[in-house]
């Protein structure tokens, strides 16, 4: 079962696939955004688990030279990525609201139908 040992990466891949599948397969514009969120969350998990070192502690200086610290950099990067993700979600939802106002629906196929008709 050695291939299961880096289980954190398996979780990352699993979540990523769920997210991508939702984006591609769902016709509801809100659900697509949710799928996108899952996809982004998987990447955040990937970075966070990457920085974790076995037995490592929070990167606050203890004064003891033998302390093992986890790598804080990926975690900090993910703060930025989360901000980006929130902004993307907000913008996407705002667009969905506007689309709903303009078309009266948030179903992709119906929107496409109306675009084709005009």
């Amino acid at each position: 079962m050695a291939w299961l040992a880096p289980y954190n990466y398996w979780i990352f891949v699993f979540l990523m696939m769920i997210g991508l599948y939702t984006v591609v397969a769902r016709g509801n514009l809100v659900k697509k955004v949710i799928g996108l969120n899952v996809f982004q969350a998987s990447v955040i998990l990937f970075y966070v688990s990457m920085g974790k070192i076995n037995g490592g502690t929070a990167p606050i200086l203890t004064g003891d030279p033998d302390t093992v610290y986890s790598n804080p950099l990926p975690h900090v990067l993910m703060l930025t990525a989360i901000v980006v993700g929130v902004a993307t979600t907000a913008l996407a939802l705002a667009l969905v609201v506007r689309i709903n106002d303009a078309y009266g629906t948030v179903e992709e196929d119906e929107v496409q139908e109306m675009d084709r008709a005009s």
Partner: protein, 502 residues
């Protein structure tokens, strides 16, 4: 030099990004203060300043020099490094100057297409987009690239959604979904490289990657990065967002994005493929960029053929963009000096050409309210200068001598022949013939069909028209005087092929 001035000049690399970035909140403040008229003036001035900075940066790296700037005084590779070489500086100049020209051009168009109370916010998004694009070109830090990529992307979704018709909303939404997937793929790639090298500084990555050059993680990273960026620069078959976005965005935005946005993503790909992965062991003995060759050829033909069947001029140009991106990527995929020079010089020439074409179409939309070919009959008589500018841009797309497009094609075909790659040289020439067809369809409508009865149309306002003519003149000028474009492209190609270690 005055010491204060010298100090400011020393900080140009960061000012290049900070000036437009800071102007954005100031502009949105104008919305609350209800001083709407000022927004355009501020945006244009700021854009002009960034152009001056970009030009001065290009001048100071000319001849193969590299500027390295430590943000906040933290030394690389721990701090964020801004690193400008000839290629980056060329990109900066393209983005900043196109932004300035389209802003000056777009004043009347924006007044017409966007409700006045939204103007400050529109220009806020514009400056954020400019800051993002400039940042991507200037930074030497891989994660920083992601941040700037998202800044420019998010603001360009907003800009596209500002279009008048409701289709612009769906176009922006589609771009958002695909763009976010692309950016996230890019992020995964960066993460994998970081995992293997422990650094985010691009120059540092290039050195440390040598130790892990054969690993599967690096190959996976290259794949993720390439696909992610290919989504952003709309390489066939990942181009699905592009035609809608360029068709339904406000005219000014179409002109700006078509000329700049995709180019910057290609630039990022260049840096990763040549500077970082150039050091890694490629698959099957090929350089990583060489995998893009079949896709780029498919892009050239699919885009050109799709363009032949379009009846909306903006959509026609959008599909032509898909093809032109193919040319750029094809040049890169040769991975030799002529090919890279051709690809890079086409980034520059295509920016001028497509800018001119979209601006000309914007002027038509301004007067006629439509970009349908059917409504543009007899335009040669109704808007002679605009139509002629479109003609000049069109023949540059075809690659007729005396125009910028010819220079690019010359290098691309030379690269194919140098490679002994006959079929590609022939395919390139064939694709030019398809361009003849789609451009000539438009020219015939402009010049050889009578205008609809009673149609009284004047040229667009003087300033708008002047900018259209200026850009069209630029496409001819850069077909004759190639010192700037080919000079910089050739230098950039040599830097890239030497792994960026100059």
């Amino acid at each position: 030099m005055n010491p204060l001035l010298a100090n400011i000049v020393g900080h140009f690399p960061i000012l290049q990004v900070v000036v437009p970035l800071v102007s954005a909140p100031l502009l949105s403040l104008l919305a609350f203060l209800r001083i709407r008229g000022l927004a355009w003036i501020v945006a244009t001035l700021v854009s002009l300043i960034t152009t001056v900075i970009a030009a001065s940066l290009l001048a100071s790296v000319w001849g193969g020099k590299v500027i390295s700037y430590e943000v906040g005084g933290w030394a690389a590779p721990w701090g964020i490094e801004y690193r400008i070489d000839t290629l980056g500086a060329l990109l900066l100049l393209i983005v900043a100057s196109i932004s300035t020209v389209t802003l000056v051009y777009g004043r009347s168009s924006v007044l017409q297409e966007i409700p006045e109370d939204r103007h400050p916010l529109f220009y806020t998004a514009w400056m954020l987009c400019v800051a993002g694009l400039l940042g991507m070109a200037v930074t030497g830090d891989a994660f920083n690239v992601f941040v700037f990529l998202e800044i420019s992307s998010l603001s360009s979704y907003v800009l596209i959604a500002a279009g008048k018709r409701r289709e612009s909303l769906t176009a922006a939404y589609r771009y958002l979904i695909l763009g976010t997937i692309g950016a996230t793929f890019f992020l995964i790639g960066v993460g994998l490289v970081y995992m293997m090298t422990g650094t985010l500084n691009i120059a540092d990555m290039a050195e440390k990657i040598v130790a892990v050059r054969d690993t599967r993680a690096i190959k996976a990273a290259a794949a993720f990065l390439t696909v992610g960026l290919a989504l952003k620069f709309a390489l066939f078959p990942l181009h699905l967002w592009l035609p809608g976005a360029y068709t339904f965005a406000p005219s000014t935005v179409s002109a700006f994005l078509a000329a700049t946005a995709t180019k910057v993503s290609i630039y990022v790909l260049l840096r990763f493929d040549f500077i970082i992965f150039g050091q890694a062991t490629p698959v099957a003995g090929l350089h990583f960029s060489q995998f893009l060759m079949p896709l780029s050829l498919a892009a050239i033909f699919a885009g050109s053929i799709a363009a032949v069947f379009q009846t909306n001029l903006k959509r026609l140009l959008a599909y032509s963009s898909v093809a032109q991106i193919g040319y750029i990527v094809l040049g890169i995929s040769f991975a030799n000096e002529d090919g890279l020079t051709g690809g890079i010089v086409h980034m520059f020439n295509h920016a001028a050409t497509k800018g001119a074409l979209f601006m000309a179409v914007g002027a038509m939309v301004y007067r006629l309210g439509s970009a349908e070919l059917h409504d543009l009959r007899g335009l040669g008589r109704r808007m002679p200068l605009t139509a002629f500018s479109f003609f000049l841009g069109g023949i540059s797309l075809i690659g007729v001598p005396f125009t910028a497009g010819f220079i690019s094609k010359w290098y691309l075909i030379s690269a194919a022949l140098d490679d002994g790659n006959w079929p590609i040289a022939v395919l390139l020439l064939l694709s030019s013939l398809i361009a003849v067809i789609y451009i000539w369809r438009v020219i015939e409508v402009f010049y050889f069909t009578p205008p609809p009865d009673g149609a009284k149309t004047r040229e667009a306002p003087a300033v708008m028209l002047a900018m259209v003519v200026l850009m069209a003149a630029a496409t001819v000028y850069f077909g004759l005087d190639t010192r700037l474009s080919v000079g910089a492209a050739n230098e950039a190609a040599r830097i890239l092929l030497s792994g960026g270690l100059l």
